[in-house]
Symmetry: C2
Subunit: 763 residues, 2 copies
């Protein structure tokens, strides 16, 4: 058994000692350096660019502007792609943009012999703009009298979507029973950024008739496709190499600067060009988590049963479409999939272009925002009917038989209520809810909770496909080559465990090819949507079965026994029925290579097209202490309990949950990108953008309810994004419990809390 073992991650030693190679470690010695000239306005048009002074800077090789780029608009989001135009991503930017839509938009680039020359030249570029009023908020954009941010659209709405469940409208449902209680609220989430350790970095060179881009990405095969699209060259003429990466969290599920880097390389005759984005550039102008405003109404029976909800969600898209068209629609699903509306659910969503940083994919893809709204609302409804929030959830949350009426995704395994029980027991829910009732004084304590539900991968909304290749080495060890990517989450380690499980070859004998090189790596869309252990895991399982069969077929010839009578266990060919060892795998391998009778280099490569999905779920419980006059929230105890099916590696699962909880705490309590009225970011650096550090982080507890999922390749389901989802509403609900004050927007900063506590008369 290799599944369920808390194996130390295979890259641990290399990452600690520095042997692990990242993009920046791999750039060649004579690499040119590119820097981007960013717009200093957020909305407008570049009228002219004067590069005459910049070109005089010693060491400058080439300066290119938005007037030089190909007239090709391309899409950046890391979606699988579709052959149907209607399902393709929005192509709304060029390599460099003359029409500026974000402060820091890319308008020109300098290529120089070193970073100093490039930086000096960037400063010497003179730009003349035609400036339009900037839209910071959704309301700004909807009410603007200025031309739309994307002129080809009639207004600033990128996309509208709606969903409804039940035969009635919300209004009909709300009027259908006499005693229904009504709640109407607005919940708002803020703009945050991923803050991965390693900012975007790549280098590009031409050789072998193609352009190679080495880049820090979650999605090398998609980067390949988008570079092809952006440059207007065949996709096969592009090669993308992904080494180890320093985090992504969705920001590297967008194809941000690779196309520009590739094009700059083309413009200097194919010489290697490096393009490294600074922290400031990353915060100002890569991707962010959408700020979403949820205007919600609910009708609930006095016993707490939810009858109907209505939701209007407006998502702040920023300047470009990116993933935006999909995210707020996904957010609405959170309402649909978490609670039963006995009569009606209505949702209307708008994704609205503004001039702040572009919203893209970020861990949870709209669900952390929606879960904040849905779970604040759950506590607010529980309060409305005078019910314990845990009981409210037991009454209303989806049960094991739930199937999404639109996508038909199901709980193929269900552990949500068990998670709630386990977490409630851990935190001491009943005792604390009782103990903290009726507190007075400036420092008060409370306990809160929030549940979530999350699908595993993107089927059936989009394509789920993954390939895997295995090669037998002469010593009986295995090369495991995945298209799926290690992005810090431990994917390499769990793929090795999976391969070991399904081949019978010990994990220690399986070498993973960690880097993806699109020239030789199997295809996989990459790391996002909590899909890899599920979708790519199926590819491992399918390939492993073929690989094992080929090994047993060869061994059968050596042993003159039928292959069906053999098995591979612990790296030995054994008698399938007695388990008696017959032949070490190494002997089969070396014979297969070097036999003069029959030489075969045993390998297997298979595609798994995944047409299944399943819901993962879970809960966060949180105990806080609130210093009311100081507006300070201290997390005393916190636990996430996850229903993610079988854990491939409990140690890595726990680490994944820890990371998500930390991200959730930052979302709850401090992180926010702030803009001035001209949509200029005021805190695009890690001094002013308040990312929690280890000093701010309490002990993080991660528990699991392991219900094997029959559709998971090894009983497993999503765990990548879920841990970040329920933390912020659990903290908010704990503050509500402690103080009686419902704070309905994130983050719960001291300034905001003091304002709200003052309004509530606590100060």
């Amino acid at each position: 058994m290799e599944i369920g073992i808390p194996k130390i991650r295979v890259d641990a030693a290399d990452k600690v000692t520095g042997a692990a190679k990242y993009t920046g470690d791999l750039e060649p010695r004579d690499c040119l350096v590119a820097r981007v000239v960013h717009s200093t306005i957020a909305n407008g048009r570049v009228v002219s660019i004067d590069v005459s002074e910049a070109e005089k800077v010693p060491g400058v090789v080439r300066i290119l502007t938005c007037f030089d780029v190909p007239d090709i608009q391309f899409p950046t989001p890391g979606h699988p792609w579709s052959v149907e135009a209607a399902h393709q991503d929005v192509s709304d930017r060029k390599l460099l943009n003359q029409r500026v839509r974000v402060y820091g938009d890319d308008i020109a680039a300098v290529v120089a012999v070193d970073d100093v020359a490039a930086a000096r030249a960037v400063r010497a570029v003179r730009v003349e703009y035609e400036e339009y009023p900037a839209c910071v908020t959704v309301d700004d954009a909807l009410n603007s009298s200025a031309p739309p941010i994307h002129e080809e659209k009639p207004d600033n709405v990128l996309v509208r979507s709606a969903l409804s469940v039940g035969d009635m409208t919300f209004d009909e449902a709300a009027a259908s029973e006499p005693d229904l209680l009504r709640l109407e609220k607005t919940y708002e989430t803020q703009t945050v950024q991923h803050c991965h350790i390693e900012p975007p970095v790549s280098h590009a060179y031409m050789a072998g008739g193609k352009i190679t881009v080495v880049t820090s990405t979650q999605i090398p095969h998609i980067v390949r496709r988008v570079i092809g699209q952006a440059l207007g060259i065949p996709w096969g003429d592009v090669r993308v190499v992904k080494p180890y990466i320093g985090g992504g969290f969705g920001n590297k599920q967008d194809v941000l600067y690779e196309p520009l880097n590739a094009w700059l390389c083309q413009q200097v005759g194919g010489r290697c060009v490096k393009l490294e984005i600074s922290r400031e550039e990353t915060l100002a102008n890569t991707r962010v988590r959408h700020a979403i405003r949820f205007q919600v109404e609910a009708a609930v029976r006095p016993d707490g049963a939810v009858v109907a909800r209505r939701l209007r969600a407006d998502s702040n898209q920023g300047g470009y479409a990116s993933h935006g068209h999909a995210i707020v629609a996904n957010a609405a699903n959170c309402f649909k999939q978490l609670y039963r509306d006995r009569k009606a659910l209505e949702a209307q969503c708008r994704t609205v272009y503004t001039n702040i940083a572009t919203g893209g994919a970020m861990r949870g893809y709209g669900i952390p925002q929606a879960d904040f709204a849905a779970e604040c609302m759950a506590d607010d409804l529980a309060a409305l009917v005078g019910m314990d929030p845990l009981e409210f959830r037991y009454l209303n949350c989806m049960g094991p038989d739930y199937e999404d009426p639109h996508t038909h995704v199901k709980f193929n395994s269900y552990g949500l209520k068990a998670c709630m029980e386990k977490g409630a027991g851990f935190i001491g829910w009943k005792e604390l809810r009782e103990k903290y009732r009726g507190q007075t004084g400036p420092v008060r304590r409370g306990v809160g909770m929030a549940i979530f539900c999350y699908k595993t991968g993107v089927h059936p909304i989009s394509l789920e496909t993954a390939s895997c290749r295995m090669l037998l080495n002469q010593d009986g060890s295995v090369q495991l080559q995945m298209g799926a990517t290690e992005i810090g989450q431990g994917a390499d380690t769990v793929f090795i465990q999976m391969a070991a499980e399904c081949t019978g070859i010990p994990a220690g004998r399986i070498h993973i090819v960690s880097a993806q090189d699109t020239d030789t790596a199997p295809f996989d869309t990459g790391a996002y949507a909590s899909r890899q252990t599920y979708v790519s895991g199926k590819a491992v399982k399918k390939t492993g079965a073929v690989f094992k069969r080929r090994i047993l077929d060869y061994a059968a010839g050596m042993l003159s026994r039928p292959a069906e009578a053999l098995d591979l266990r612990g790296g030995e060919i054994v008698d399938a029925s007695s388990g008696a060892a017959l032949l070490p795998l190494g002997e089969v391998a070396v014979t297969a290579f070097y036999s003069l009778d029959k030489s075969v280099h045993i390998s297997a490569e298979e595609t798994s097209h995944c047409k299944e999905n399943t819901f993962a779920s879970g809960v966060c419980f949180c105990e806080v202490e609130v210093d009311i006059p100081m507006g300070k929230v201290k997390v005393l105890n916190i636990v996430n309990v996850h229903d993610s099916g079988v854990l491939i590696n409990p140690k890595l699962a726990e680490a994944q949950v820890h990371g998500g909880m930390s991200m959730g705490l930052g979302y709850a309590l401090g992180e926010e990108l702030i803009y001035d009225g001209k949509a200029r970011p005021l805190n695009p650096n890690l001094l002013d953008y308040k990312l929690p550090t280890v000093m701010d982080t309490p002990k993080l507890n991660a528990l699991f309810v392991e219900v094997p999922d029959p559709t998971g390749p090894f009983g497993n389901k999503a765990l990548g994004e879920p841990p970040a989802i329920p933390v912020a509403p659990a903290v908010r609900n704990a503050v509500l419990h402690a103080t009686g004050v419902a704070v309905d927007s994130l983050p719960l900063t001291p300034q905001k809390l003091v304002e709200r506590f003052t309004q509530a008369g606590l100060i």
Copy 2:
């Protein structure tokens, strides 16, 4: 049709512009530098090494000596490997040798932060030796009273081999007819070196639990195996990467310095260490072509029919076994396979350890030496019976029905006599033989010829196995991944043409993965034995068939037609019978990737175990002008005519012949590594070692007789090594024709010619 097209090589532009990456281009910025301390005696033992002064040199990281290395002897030759101990290569060296057997033997190594520090430290190392008399020649070694060079052997003979054909002994055959004429001669060849442009260079680092060695080699998969053996670690823990290489010619078919580099890397904690060998080190102590002395006897009828030959060959092995045990045995085959001995052929061969540079693989693997002897003898026999040398060969050379009685290798296609006719016509043989008869004066002209025969790959002596992988890109282009290596010969280009031919996808849409990375490359033993277009070509053909079938299967689903009714031609799916275009391949590809119905990443990977072989053959004709008093030979006209089956790429075939002819002219006229009495090389540099330059090279003419070979994957057979074989004896025979003087040892330097002409009374 993609076969037979003179396509420009796919790496031409990159190699001209510098975009092509070689090992030295790829070393990381912070690489440590290793240098080897070489012995200053050729035979003896290191008593002690004092590194105390060397360790004081600033920048020295680590100094390691022959007293530090693992007690493991390992084999260096690039043979496929055998699971049977009796067929394995000789393991007779350690990473660093305490027992010194060659001047320049590796006895210690310095690792430092840069090359200057490493070089200074090497000079500061003090070594105390116990010195034995050095053996320069085979006779020295056979007659030496000193202990054997390899103490575990009873004498200095590495291996003895013998072969005989016919029911009689030579003596019986020579006495069996009354009128036989007898010839007894000694022919000798000299020690030469490959002189590839790029000396051996590698760098090694540890990551991912394994050691990676990037190296300039012909045989990456074999390097992997030998490093595993030399370091005593599992072969799967070794990764070898082969970029473009600057020539090999067999010297990089030995695993020379990669194991030492890997071990040095281990000793500095896995930091990257670079080991670059200088030209001097390369000439003194890598590998050379064996000097072989052939003592031959023949009995021939007055009509020129050869009745019997006897051959004693002694090969100067140098200090270590390397490929030596196989080479002189192969040389003897040349006698067997070129001419019919009507009653008997006897050969006895010895490979003798001496203290000069180790003999290894070099283009032709013993055959250029043997062909010199056999073809000098042919002319000398023709002279003996008063016959035209061409007529002598027509009478005696093997015909199309020849089958080697031992290996059963056959002429599956035969063009030898046609080559002779074509070459004789080109050079004007009849006219010139007549015209140059009876010359006098100091400057005379002559015309000579030599034929050869060469097998294709190593079956059945050793294993022939190769794999290939093809991947379909979204744009309908293909990734072609070979285990076989591009070593400057144009392999990448011909593999692309082959893949195009057997898939129906245009060559321009096939991208080859030129570099081999043993972690992901299909297995192949590598570039040697003129095997790749034949053996690895079969892998392309087999894989291409599977790949094409998978594409047609997918297209069949799209078109709702049976796959058998479809074909792939010119990158289009067509109706197999009418040829009508039905669907572009790009559409099939993009659908296969992104179909929501059935996503498949179409690929194929197959092993071809080759159990066939076939003889290639050909001839060189050469017209020379000899300045007798000056001892100078000027080549006026020269042509090689090759029977190599179908030419995959006539342009590259011609280039291959040109290179071989140039190498043959150097062998004939100038190249020789010279040793003093202590076995110290006197000319290990390209000033004193007389490699011909473009200034020394006449116009080289390459002609072909294209008889399709039924066993070749595309009708092709060996062409890699053959061009170098017949040139030297053709030049010698032309000098014989011009002057009447038979020079029986190589090279034909002015000094030697003046001596011989003086002896002959011409001066």
